[in-house]
Every structure is written in structure tokens, then in C-alpha cells.
């Protein structure tokens, strides 16, 4: 029983990271209707930036906040420079854009910081959380930050003018322009926020998977699985999906013979396919009904 509780809690902790990645994916999906394949690499690059700041001697939380600001600005810059000109291009062109972005960021990170694996600190320590052997303080911190992030986003989207404008722009872009909303900047803002959210995921998972340019590959697949499971149109669903995928991954690795660590990733992919076949809108997503 203790093994089970332990695995579920550990699953919730890694699920928190998947939830952040899924949130980032959903933010951009809402804005431009496409999955950002480079989301993980953007997060990885941000994490390297924070590592560099730490190397230069900044305290952890200062580096954390500066990295958020850098990622936010970087996300906006990527949208303005690369994806705004592609906005009306066919879908394959956009996919090519995402893949190009993926390899450019990956190579740049390798060039600047090389491909050796680096240690990354945790601000929470790794002692047992509240004296319990079930979960470490870092895992508890990951969950705590994700929950705070979710509350912050909820307040932003529900109670601020810009949040409402972003929802309006995602809902009916043309009507949004007709009430005076600059929809193009709302998309850029979505990119900025997605990049910042992704960087949180990167900085929280780096102490676990270690820092290197390919660190986010697997995490992004889980993030996609979480987003698809929760429904690509629902930020809340993305977070629930993240936690569920985390738990599912851990339990499958523990209890299904032969899965172990090697087969965990294919399980995420199988989950994506299953959801798409059985319930394409996900758990909390809306069915898009269009009159023709």
C-alpha cells in the first residue's frame, strides 16, 4: 500500500511538470490552433539561461524571475519574427516552422553550453517533505508552484481586462477586432505567456532529469499527452491531464510487468492515440461545432 501511495504522489509531482508543459501547449493552441513542437526546446533554452544566471552568482529566485521575464520576451519575439509572417500560410508550412525552431534552439543551446549533462539546483532541497518518506520537498515544491500558477492564470483570465480580451480573441477573432481588440498582439501575448510557463516547467524538472539540450524531449511528449487527454481547448483540463498522465506513467511503470522505465514513453504515445480515437475532444475540451 505504501508503495502505491508513494508512486501516486511521485506521479502527481512529475505530473505537475507535464501540467505546466500542457498549459504552455494549450496557450499557443488556443491562440493559433497549432501544437508548438518547439515548446520543450524553448523551455530547455530558458532553463539554460537560468543556469547561466546562477553560475554568475545570482540567488535562485532572482534568476527564476529574470528567466521568466526573458522567456516572456523571447516568446513574443519568436511570434513576431517567425510566426506572424506565417499566420496565413498552410498548415505544413507552419509545422516546418515549428520543426525549424526546434532544431535551431536545440543546436544553439548545444553550441553555447555544450551537450554535457549538468547539475541543476533545487530551491526546495530534497529532504523528506514534513518528515514523511512518501514525497520529497522538491516534489512538494513542484506541485505547489504548479497549483499557484494555475490559480494565477485563472485569476488573470477570469478577472482582468486583458485576460478577457485574450479569451475573446481566441473565441471569435473577427468579433474581437470589431470591439477594438488588437488580436495580433493577443496572439503574441499568448506566446510570451506560454514561453514563461514552459520555462517554469524546465526549471522545476531540471534537478530531476539534469540539464542538457535534449532534456525536454520526453517531457514534451508527456505534455502533449496531458493536453490531449485534458482537451486542447481547456487550460484546466490540461492541468488535470498532466496530473493524470504523471500518475498513470508511474503506476504503469511499477505494476505492469515489463514496462519499467524503458517503455514509459511509448505508453504516453499510446495514451495520445487512445484519447484521439475514443474521445477526440479530451476530458474537458469543447466539441467545436461549426455551421456550414
Amino acid at each position: 500500500m505504501e508503495l502505491f501511495t508513494n508512486q501516486v504522489l511521485a506521479g502527481i509531482a512529475t505530473g505537475a511538470i507535464y501540467a505546466c508543459m500542457a498549459l504552455a501547449v494549450v496557450m499557443i493552441y488556443q491562440a493559433i490552433d497549432h501544437l508548438n513542437f518547439a515548446q520543450g526546446e524553448m523551455a530547455m533554452f530558458s532553463t539554460f539561461v537560468s543556469w547561466q544566471l546562477l553560475q554568475w552568482g545570482l540567488p535562485y529566485w532572482a534568476a527564476f524571475l529574470l528567466t521568466l521575464a526573458f522567456s516572456f520576451a523571447g516568446g513574443i519575439a519568436i511570434e513576431r519574427i517567425l510566426f506572424k509572417p506565417l499566420a496565413k500560410a498552410p498548415i505544413l508550412t507552419q509545422v516546418a516552422g515549428f520543426i525549424a525552431l526546434f532544431s535551431i534552439i536545440n543546436s544553439c543551446a548545444g553550441l553555447i553550453w555544450d551537450f554535457t549533462i549538468k547539475q541543476y539546483p533545487t530551491p526546495f532541497g530534497s529532504a523528506p517533505f514534513l518528515g514523511s518518506q512518501l514525497i520529497s520537498t522538491h516534489q512538494a515544491g513542484m506541485i505547489g508552484i504548479t497549483v499557484l500558477l494555475l490559480i494565477g492564470l485563472y485569476v488573470f483570465f477570469q478577472y482582468t481586462r486583458v485576460g478577457l480580451a485574450m479569451r475573446a480573441a481566441a473565441s471569435v477573432p473577427e468579433s474581437a477586432r470589431l470591439v477594438g481588440i488588437n488580436t495580433s498582439w493577443m496572439i503574441a501575448l499568448g506566446w510570451g505567456m506560454a514561453a514563461a510557463i514552459g520555462s517554469i516547467a524546465g526549471m522545476l524538472i531540471a534537478p530531476v532529469v539534469f540539464l542538457e539540450p535534449n532534456m525536454m524531449g520526453g517531457v514534451l511528449i508527456y505534455g502533449f499527452a496531458a493536453a490531449v487527454l485534458g482537451g486542447l481547448t481547456s487550460p484546466f483540463g490540461a492541468v488535470v491531464g498532466g496530473f493524470l498522465v504523471g500518475i498513470f506513467e508511474n503506476l504503469a511503470g511499477t505494476y505492469i510487468p515489463g514496462v519499467g522505465n524503458e517503455l514509459k514513453l511509448p505508453i504516453a504515445l499510446a495514451l495520445i492515440i487512445t484519447v484521439l480515437v475514443v474521445k477526440p475532444a479530451g476530458l474537458f475540451g469543447r466539441h467545436i461545432v461549426k455551421r456550414v
Binding site: 479569451r167 477586432r177 469543447r286
Partner: protein
């Protein structure tokens, strides 16, 4: 009276296809003008051209200021509210959020709140449903919401694209009564595009008839509705 809206030699294009051919007309401050014509005549395109949502040449002036070089968002902030064809409801947002968005370009929080109450007085159905997702409203209620959303801008000019479309005759009567009231009481100038010519002419004081992208008839609404030739050849009743 001075012209609030002045359109000269307006041509509009969808890709290679020209939809408007040298259209010119004007609209006086405080007037209720209707733009009539058959399907495909270019009525919707004219409204879209005013808000710069289609490629155009020619000049459009609002209160002496040229519009053609401005973005849609910017034109809205000058005080032109556009109720698009199909109502443009933010279906996933609540009724109240739809109204708040109508006032997006305004900064006066207190008057926005009192304006929302004023809209609920015009349209009591909207108050009943203010926390409901707007997509769940009936067609008539969504049209009311679209008009209310446009009024939240406190516009000087309101463009309405086929407000009667898909509504039951009784609801259309109500809606047009309110439009007349808005025009008189709130001093909002209205440009109404309609296929229901009879109804629109009863409401309007000025009318233009448009055919294949050209103005073919202009004048007072009364004269046009009394002219049997015009009625038979262009308005079909």
C-alpha cells in the same frame, strides 16, 4: 447638416474579384440610413469596407477623418460599432462578458457598469441570462446581445448587417422598435443593411439601393417606398 460618414469612389476586392464599383454615398449625423439590395449586391462588403476588413481603394471619411489607412481596431475606437452578419457572438463567454467586451476601448469603469445596467433595461432577457454562455441564447436573444454589445462602445455610428436575419417576424418588430429608439434617444447614427426592404424603409429616413456593387437609387425612405417602379424592380414587393 454635416455628413458624418462620407464614402467616395469606393471599390472593394476579394482577391481578383471586384465586389464594389465606384460606390459613393454619405450619411448625416443622427440619421437612420438603410442600404438595400438583393443577395450579393455588395451590402455586407460596404460595411466591411468601412471597418477596413476587405481590400479597398477610394476614400471613406468619418467625421472628416480618413478611415482607409486605419486598422479595424483603431476604427472601432473612433466610435464606429459594427454588428456583423451572423451576430458575431462570443459563444464561449458569458452574456455579461460579451457586454464588457463591447466597452473594451473605454476606460471609465463606473459608467461601463451603469451602461451594462442600461442594456439590461433595454433587453430584460439578457439580464435574466447574464451568467449564461452566450452560445446558448436563442437567435433573437443573440441579436439583442449583439446590438447591446455594440451600444456598449457608446458609438457615434452603428453599422448593422441584416439584423432581421433568421428571426421570427414578431421579434424583428421588437428589435426594429428598439433600433428606432436608440437612434432617437441615444443620438446614435445608424447604417442598416437589410434584405427586408419594407421593414427597413418604415424605420429609416434615408435609403440607398445597391445593385451589383453600384448605387442605383438614393433618396428619402418615404419617396423610395412610394415609388412603385423602384419597388418592383429592385426591392421585390
Amino acid at each position: 447638416m454635416t455628413a458624418l460618414l462620407n464614402v467616395k469612389d469606393l471599390r472593394a476586392y476579394y482577391g481578383q474579384v471586384q465586389a464594389l464599383h465606384s460606390l459613393s454615398f454619405s450619411l448625416n449625423e443622427g440619421s437612420l440610413t438603410t442600404l438595400l439590395g438583393a443577395n450579393g449586391a455588395g451590402k455586407t462588403t460596404t460595411l466591411r469596407a468601412i471597418c477596413n476588413m476587405v481590400r479597398t481603394t477610394g476614400t471613406i471619411e468619418f467625421d472628416g477623418r480618413p478611415l482607409t489607412s486605419r486598422s479595424t481596431e483603431n476604427i472601432v475606437s473612433l466610435g464606429i460599432a459594427h454588428v456583423p452578419q451572423g451576430r458575431g457572438t462570443f459563444t464561449t463567454l458569458t452574456v455579461e462578458e460579451n457586454l464588457q467586451l463591447g466597452a473594451y476601448t473605454r476606460n471609465d469603469k463606473a459608467t461601463i457598469a451603469s451602461d451594462i445596467e442600461r442594456m439590461y433595461a433595454y433587453f430584460p432577457k439578457l439580464k435574466e441570462r447574464h451568467t449564461q454562455q452566450a452560445g446558448t441564447l436563442s437567435g433573437g436573444e443573440q441579436q439583442m446581445l449583439a446590438v447591446a454589445r455594440a451600444l456598449m462602445l457608446r458609438p457615434r455610428l452603428m453599422l448593422l448587417d441584416e439584423p432581421s436575419f433568421g428571426l421570427a417576424p414578431l421579434i424583428v418588430r421588437d428589435l426594429f422598435k428598439i433600433l428606432g429608439q436608440i437612434n432617437r434617444e441615444e443620438k446614435v447614427s445608424l447604417l442598416v443593411v437589410e434584405q427586408n426592404a419594407q421593414l427597413a424603409l418604415e424605420l429609416a429616413d434615408q435609403a440607398y439601393v445597391i445593385e451589383t456593387g453600384r448605387i442605383v437609387m438614393a433618396g428619402g425612405a418615404k419617396e423610395i417606398s412610394n415609388d412603385e417602379n423602384v419597388r418592383k424592380s429592385y426591392l421585390g414587393y
